[in-house]
Symmetry: C2
Subunit: 196 residues, 2 copies
DNA sequence: TGGCTAGCCTAACGATCGTTAGTTAGGGCG
DNA sequence: CGCCCTAACTAACGATCGTTAGGCTAGCCA
């Protein structure tokens, strides 16, 4: 574990603690203790507690967005106009980001409620836009008959909830490597959608 | 909204606030303010803040357990030995409890982390046992060929995450009645499992 | 050698936390 | 009337919260 910058180290342990005890359940002094430092010392690197939360959530959101961008480009290059391929790529990319840093991703999934009104609104907008990408691909697949009829909004929301559930039990040192987990989630997601 | 007892009213507003801001993010005085009462006044009805959380979580857990009991008996009466019927009944019962009191159910789903060590352990045990009921039915279905091969543990956990996601967007005054939502979730869950 | 910088320290601020103690107001009932 | 019960009150406790201010130290570079 190389420590790139002090600021990064703070966000790393904050992610861990926010995930375990929540934002409100974690004090500045808790974060400092994990770094063997006094609470007040953190303010040399950070302007407020909420700024730390926002940095984590914003970075996680950006990771999900960038991974989805790349996944859609890749899928289009491999099998142009294939909604099943595109959707599977989205799910696989999502699992990859989720498992690459479970702490960060869990904070993104659960702790956005603790953000102030403007940051909260901003992240909800981005979350909606992200969910719309999934929904759009489902609609594409329904239009060409690849996917069975269903409510695309509910399906997108349900699949994202299902995939995010991985954050609750994934263990980087566990039995299953991240890619096998992604295989399972892609499989289960596609079964929900594909026409029999 | 009939107020059965003062204690019940406290747990109701506590469920609402815990769901919105989390346990740690909600103070005793916040709960009291929602009841137009001083913070200290609550201690005539309650012994501690955590006791309130435990009461909510324990009651919600009991509701899910009782609904699953009934669902399994019903399914067995309707179509004895049919794993698909049994599993569908479990999912439908889960959605019914979830939508009957979203606040309470959301607190159960998200805030068990805030419980003390012994309550936390107890609720995790019950959650595991509950999840095992879903997993067991999946294994039954796989054994007789009704359900397609998959990892039953991952499937159970994923389906429960998917269904719990409903707590994030269900609106009792919304467009979709709870039973139509249950229809969707049963449909999506069964598609994940059924052999094509 | 001297200064710059990064990183940490101690001390303290006002606010808020969960909780306890003791008291008061009002309604039902003997 | 007097009694009790329910439900609220005010006041305060010690602890902890996020945050600010100001000072110290060790390493690097000129």
């Amino acid at each position: 574990m190389v420590e790139l910058s002090r600021r990064q180290a703070i966000e790393d342990v904050a992610s861990d603690l926010f995930r375990e005890h929540g934002y409100a359940g974690t004090s500045i002094r808790d974060i400092a203790r994990a770094l063997s430092v006094q609470g007040a010392s953190l303010y040399a690197h950070v302007t407020s507690k909420e700024e730390v939360l926002w940095a984590i959530v914003d970075r996680a959101a950006a990771r999900f967005e960038a991974a989805a961008d790349l996944a859609e480009v890749d899928a289009e290059a491999r099998r142009p106009g294939d909604p099943a391929e595109a959707f599977a790529a989205l799910v696989r990319a999502h699992v990859a980001v989720l498992t690459a840093d479970v702490d960060e991703a869990s904070v993104f999934v659960h702790e956005w409620r603790a953000l102030g009104p403007e940051h909260r609104r901003a992240i909800l907008e981005r979350r909606d836009a992200y969910q719309d990408r999934f929904r759009g691909r489902i609609e594409d697949g329904m239009a060409v008959g690849t996917f069975a009829m269903t409510d695309p909004s509910i399906a997108a929301s349900t699949i994202l909830s299902a995939v995010n559930g991985v954050a609750g039990w994934y263990d980087p040192n566990g039995r299953l490597p991240a890619e096998r987990i992604a295989d399972h989630l892609v499989d289960l997601s596609m079964r929900m959608l594909l026409n029999a």
